[in-house]
Symmetry: C2
């Protein structure tokens, strides 16, 4: 599994001509790193007298952050699995009568995990927003990093949906996926920017 590779090897595999990890798996890892920084804000907040009022909220947020972190880690390898049939489908001769159907199915599979990553980034940004509001001010830069990274992970992952919907013959399915994606990007990329900019202004 990719998550059992060393950081060094994972980066080098990404840089190589191997099809995975690619943009999808890397986005999931960046999401995991973002929500991990969110959780760190929680770790530096709980047990502090100054933040006793929000202790229960912070514990709930940390529980959510842990679950989202595990989900992102799962999605790193899920993306590689979902991409495999597409890599195989490209190898089918163009005049093979079964090619179109196999390709269409493979495109839908390959788009599904990046879409899950986008959803998970949205959930992560909500949690990070609350960490930024309620967490210890000594970790505020980490909350800002978390927001920037989960926003970018969402944007990066979206491209891995678009590149697959673009080639789909089933335009109704493709356009409904694209619309859902546009809606999520509009809502959450902006949320990430707002959190980041507020924190950057307070530190500058």
């Amino acid at each position: 599994m990719f998550i059992d590779k060393t950081v060094h090897d994972f980066v080098n595999l990404t840089a190589s001509n191997a099809p995975t990890p690619g943009g999808g798996g890397v986005s999931a890892l960046v999401g995991a790193l973002g929500i991990a920084l969110g959780n760190m804000v929680g770790e530096l907040t709980i047990g502090k007298k100054k933040y006793a009022d929000v202790e229960d909220d912070i514990k709930r947020l940390m529980q959510e952050a842990q679950e989202l972190k595990e989900e992102f880690l799962r999605l790193i390898d899920a993306d590689a699995e979902a991409f495999a049939p597409l890599a195989k489908a490209y190898g089918i001769p163009k005049d093979d009568p079964g090619r179109d159907e196999i390709m269409e199915e493979a495109l839908k599979t390959a788009a599904s995990v990046p879409m899950d990553i986008v959803h998970t980034c949205g959930k992560a940004l909500r949690v990070i927003e609350e960490f930024a509001e309620k967490g210890s001010k000594i970790a505020i830069s980490d909350a800002g990093c978390a927001a920037a990274l989960c926003g970018a992970a969402m944007q990066a992952s979206a491209l891995n949906v678009y590149i697959n919907t673009q080639s789909m013959k089933d335009r109704i399915f493709a356009e409904s996926m694209n619309s859902e994606l546009d809606r999520l990007l509009n809502e959450y990329v902006n949320k990430g920017d707002v959190i980041y900019n507020r924190i950057a202004s307070s530190l500058r």
Copy 2:
């Protein structure tokens, strides 16, 4: 060294209450992942007849991408080393007469690596811009991911400079670092957005 940890363990260490890896080291890793995706665009371009005209450019860009990737990987552990004296300085009793001087030095050291990460992200975005222009269109989504990730890594790292310059007593040094940072962010975060948006529009 952090880069010898597994991806799984690195993410979990980030989520923990350990001071490092924090926002700085994580930004360096995201930068490494971004430029690694840039290099992957190069890998999928070289040797292809369709891109023979740009073969020499792509080879040069891949050489630059490899160097930037190694630099980012080095900065992951360098950030932890540069942060250690600051973590120690916070432990010095507030009435210790030597505290201020040690703290000032530690703040400058802790700010230096995030600043290097910001510079490296800027260089990476220039290389990614050229990969996006000249590289194989089959890898265009990876070039877009690379741009989004290196832009966010730059923004995230900047917060780790600001949080340190904020506490410096030497305001001339602090303000000169902040101004340099503002200049870099203005130039390169925008460049990242332009690359990303152009690619997202072409795929949507």
